[in-house]
Symmetry: C2
Subunit: 139 residues, 2 copies
DNA sequence: CATATTTGTAACCATTATAGTTACAAATAT
DNA sequence: ATATTTGTAACTATAATGGTTACAAATATG
């Protein structure tokens, strides 16, 4: 997932929805994120597929949260977006080499554990936490 | 750093060096990794700049470890390679929006903490651990 | 000293991922 | 009906990456 901004954009959008009484259009979200509405639709459609948000087309349509923001854990958002593992194994080490032929397993174990710790950390925060942090921030 | 294989390649190369009595050429390392020698030189030059390995040009030259493999912590290798943060903030949220104008700080805190946990996990293992894992692996 | 070996590095290409953009169909509220 | 809004395909521009070629510089050895 690395360099992708989708995770940050998703949290931004969810936080906006958490702070809003009614639904928000892709246009409105895109304006706050400063990007194109299509980028928002693309990003949000994954969250919708996993039941975090709903959308309604047409006049007075837009996006809204399905669950209260206290129940939207950042780890879940991260996992929905999926994407590459943060640490990736190199493609095709030489199987005829005693090191190259056996390094993938050990590496995979170490990389998986590290990623699990990263996700565990994201599991400590919800969209509600982000919103309350923002409200504590002086402008 | 995400999708990049440089971290995995570096650990692979360091593990090869740990298992070798003499120096190894970029050619030999590249053969085990299955890539081009220039890719190895590029990757290793960063490790050399940080004192993990040395290189010598010319006949019977090549790469060798500076420290024993028990003292090469994977977190240090990871940090040397540097690159992007694993979780990246989106570029330019709208500063006139009460959410967009304040979301960067809270996000940065959460992302930094998660990355620290990832690196802490990598801090638990050394190149010697990888080599010993490999030696336990049945071929 | 001549030669073979090996790193150092610049330059370039191909591939891939991403964000951004345009365009338009379909759905919806009024 | 009409205006609004999502859904989605298609395309472009940009950037990162790995791979490759080419050649200079350094080094060991006979």
């Amino acid at each position: 997932m690395n360099t992708s901004q989708r995770f940050a954009i998703s949290i931004h959008a969810l936080t906006l929805l958490a702070a809003s009484s009614g639904p928000l259009t892709s246009e409105a979200i895109a304006s706050s994120v400063d990007t194109n509405p299509v980028v928002i639709r693309r990003t949000m459609s994954g969250l919708r597929a996993h039941g975090l948000v709903t959308s309604k087309p047409g006049a007075h349509g837009g996006w809204r949260l399905v669950r209260p923001p206290q129940q939207i854990v950042l780890r879940d958002v991260y996992q929905i977006l999926g994407g590459e593992d943060v640490l990736s194994i190199h493609g095709h080490p030489n199987q005829h080499c005693p090191i190259g032929g056996r390094i993938k397993g050990p590496l995979k174990n170490i990389f998986n554990e590290a990623q699990t710790e990263l996700e565990k950390s994201l599991g400590k925060y919800t969209v509600a936490d982000v919103l309350s942090d923002i409200r504590k921030t002086r402008s």
